[in-house]
């Protein structure tokens, strides 16, 4: 019989087509092609190729004057205010080290450098701690001194489950300007507000930033000490790296309405959008450079106020993100600090920056002073969010503090 050979094995009735072998050949070819394509494009072999992709180890970010970090879980970071009389007794000359050296630009001239006492810490933090504890037992003055120098190392670290504060109120206080009583009131006011709104506070002594000014006489210069605001804000950004906003409010001011939530009152996009001033001249009233017209409130990183003459920096808000940090760092550059043609220190520097750098201007807005910078002179009315008296002089300041403290107490009773 003419039975085809393959029929023995196959159960099909019909004989396989004559081209069957060719088809199966093609199929093999297709498999080969697919295999090649897979190898070519996906390269499963790369799974076995262990590339060393370990991150190189770089030094960690550290505070201004030390490599040590003290982590605290309290969101109210302020130095022991009760040390004020002791610090006053010590005077800044004992709180800061003066090192004689040569000027790097001008080797013939002697130059004193002001250095934080942290620079003389023992490299081993445990030994240093033991040493300080010993000193603290022996003398209250040394204790105050150690508190003073260690405040720079403090950083907030939330306990598990603790809500991270979204806004940090930053204040610099001066033990030479106010009495202990007033200083306590000023810090207590901020703590009270932060407690109600679950914000954080960050308070530092003015004198802690003397190494940045590098001249003890600058502490008496009204314009020079303004720069300390910027150094302190930068330190606060380091101490609260995950907070969203930093509100700088200098020591000459009170928050009067403790129930106003800053986010609802100012920071949320809709509110900010309705109150921010567009096309507002940077130098009032007729400055040529103005804030942008078409800027979205979400893009804002810096919220400022103006007096009749200029931009003011005694109360302003800055976003605690990459851009906010960069703005503070640019602004506090020593080349601006030393520049002779900035009559109002950082206020002039800011005006200059905004006039010359459109990127930063596009992230900046001006709001009416009434919002976050209400002056005590005939501007403040009951019900306002805050009040400030940075134009006060000498003993007058103390009086104003007690007047508004009474005001606050009355409001509390209501």
């Amino acid at each position: 019989m003419f039975k085809p050979k393959y029929s023995n094995k196959s159960k099909t009735i019909l004989p396989l087509p004559a081209t069957f072998n060719r088809i199966s050949h093609r199929r093999k070819l297709a498999i080969i092609i697919i295999f090649i394509i897979v190898i070519w494009f996906i390269n499963p072999l790369s799974l076995f190729n262990f590339k060393s992709n370990t991150l190189k180890l770089y030094p960690k970010a550290h505070p201004l004057t030390s490599n040590e970090i003290i982590e605290l879980s309290s969101q109210y970071l302020y130095p022991p205010i009760e040390d004020a009389p002791l610090l006053k007794q010590l005077t800044p000359t004992k709180l800061i080290k003066f090192v004689k050296g040569k000027d790097s630009n001008n080797p013939d001239q002697d130059r004193t450098k002001l250095i934080s006492l942290n620079a003389f810490d023992d490299p081993d933090p445990i030994k240093q701690k033991a040493k300080e504890e010993e000193e603290n037992k022996l003398s209250d003055l040394d204790k105050a001194k150690n508190h003073f120098k260690n405040q720079d190392k403090v950083r907030f670290k939330p306990k598990s489950g603790q809500v991270y504060p979204e806004v940090i109120i930053v204040t610099t206080v001066d033990f030479d300007k106010y009495s202990l009583d007033s200083l306590t009131k000023i810090v207590q006011n901020r703590v009270d507000y932060a407690y109600r709104q679950n914000y954080g506070i960050y308070v530092r002594w003015y004198q802690e930033f003397l190494p940045m000014l590098n001249n003890i006489e600058d502490l008496k210069d009204v314009e020079k000490i303004k720069w300390i605001r910027l150094y302190c804000i930068r330190a606060a950004m380091f101490a609260f790296p995950k907070a969203k906003w930093i509100w700088f409010l200098d020591q000459d001011g009170f928050i009067m309405d403790l129930n106003k939530n800053l986010e609802q009152y100012l920071l949320n996009a809709n509110t900010l959008d309705s109150i921010m001033l567009r096309e507002q001249p940077l130098i009032p009233p007729h400055g040529l450079i103005k804030t942008y017209k078409n800027v979205k409130s979400e893009a804002i990183k810096l919220i400022l106020t103006q007096s009749e003459q200029k931009l003011e920096t005694n109360s302003f808000l800055i976003k605690n993100d990459q851009v906010g940090k960069s703005i503070i760092e640019i602004w506090s550059d020593s080349l601006y600090f030393n520049y002779g043609s900035f009559p109002y220190g950082p206020d002039s520097a800011l005006t200059h920056i905004l006039q010359w750098h459109p990127f930063i201007l596009s992230k900046t807005t001006i709001v009416p002073a009434k919002q976050i910078n209400t002056s005590h002179k005939s501007k403040y009315e009951e019900g306002d969010f805050m009040v400030q008296w940075s134009d006060c002089n000498g003993i007058e300041c103390e009086k104003i503090v007690s007047i508004y403290q009474d005001n606050l107490d009355k409001l509390k009773d209501k």
Binding site: S52, Y58, R234, D333, L335, I360
Partner: protein, 335 residues
């Protein structure tokens, strides 16, 4: 016998035979004619979607923008102070052809920027800040490109087969160094507060014997770079520093790097020879230090400073010939 009046074919046969052939194209024609309005609408929609930017329509865009754009600074100071010599023309032609070839090979963009002296930069304070303006302009020109590679005219890509990705971009953290612990020709401060090196690298530069070298560097599009380009030139800083800042934007960057943490944390350094090797004439006071100087199979050579007393054309021709020689295949014995 019954007479039948039947047609020569029965009904079915008839219809089958004489019905016009319904080929595919006929069917299509018919369909189009029946649905004229809908078809017209669809075609309009497709054209609008593909070729225009009309709002409220989804636009199908093929992402044709290159991932890397090379910016070549040509014609530096050319044609204003003096006539351009034939040799200068030749150098420029070689350099441009070299980058064109490289960009085409790897699908990168190339933009050649004219650096002729312009009035607006002619003021003493504004000289050579053109670089910043050109970078800004190029970033606007290529809105979807991530990396921008600046190259001076007197550079030559010696190993065009190497792509930037495989050379260092894919493995950036291991290829770069970010602190000045090991190599610090300027003696800048090694440690400044608040610097967070976990930030991504947005700018890749090299250091030669005299400090930062901006003859060949890369910049990544980001908010950081936008801010850097905005702040790089500042009149108040420049007014105080213009006596010290001989190399203008290079020195300004060094100053920013040494004082501002946000600048420092996003700059990565590559060894000079990785993208910017020097010929023997440059860095002549460090002539015995091999880390600066071109060795065979280095990626890019930068004839930095050849216009100051050295022979640019000679050097360019030398490296052009060397590159050709290094890439000669054994079977091309005739060339």
């Amino acid at each position: 016998m019954t007479t039948s009046y039947s047609l020569p074919y029965d009904q079915e046969d008839y219809t089958k035979t004489f019905k016009p052939k319904s080929s595919l194209s006929n069917q299509l024609n018919k369909f189009i004619l029946q649905n004229k309005k809908i078809i017209l609408f669809i075609i309009t929609f497709i054209i609008l979607s593909l070729f225009t930017n009309v709002p409220y329509i989804p636009h199908l865009k093929f992402n044709t923008s290159p991932k890397i754009v090379i910016i070549l600074a040509a014609n530096e100071g050319g044609g204003v102070l003096k006539w351009k010599s034939p040799q200068e023309w030749s150098v420029e032609r070689s350099s441009i052809a070299n980058k064109k070839h490289y960009a085409k090979l790897h699908g990168y963009g190339l933009t050649i920027k004219d650096m002729t002296i312009k009035k607006r930069y002619s003021h003493e304070w504004r000289e050579s800040w053109e670089k910043v303006d050109i970078l800004k302009q190029t970033m606007r020109q290529f809105p979807n490109t991530e990396w921008f590679w600046w190259l001076d005219l007197h550079t030559y890509i010696m190993e065009p087969q190497i792509s930037l990705e495989q050379h260092f971009l894919e493995n950036l953290n291991n290829q770069t160094y970010r602190t000045l612990e090991n190599f610090n020709p300027l003696n800048l401060r090694k440690d400044i507060p608040y610097v967070d090196y976990t930030q991504p690298i947005d700018m890749i530069i090299t250091q030669d014997c005299g400090g930062f070298n901006l003859g060949s560097f890369l910049l990544r599009r980001s908010q950081w770079s936008e801010m850097l380009l905005d702040i790089w030139w500042d009149p108040a800083m420049y007014e105080q520093m213009h006596m010290q800042w001989e190399h203008k934007e290079q020195d300004a960057l060094e100053t920013l790097y040494s004082t501002q943490p946000w600048i420092r944390e996003r700059i990565g350094f590559l060894p000079l020879r990785k993208i910017n090797a020097f010929p023997p004439g440059a860095c002549s006071d460090k002539a015995d230090d091999p880390q600066y100087f071109f060795k065979n199979n280095d990626f890019v050579v930068n004839m930095a400073g050849c216009e100051w007393g050295r022979d640019c054309w000679g050097e360019m021709e030398h490296y052009k010939a060397l590159s050709k020689k290094l890439h000669k295949r054994w079977w091309k014995f005739w060339s």
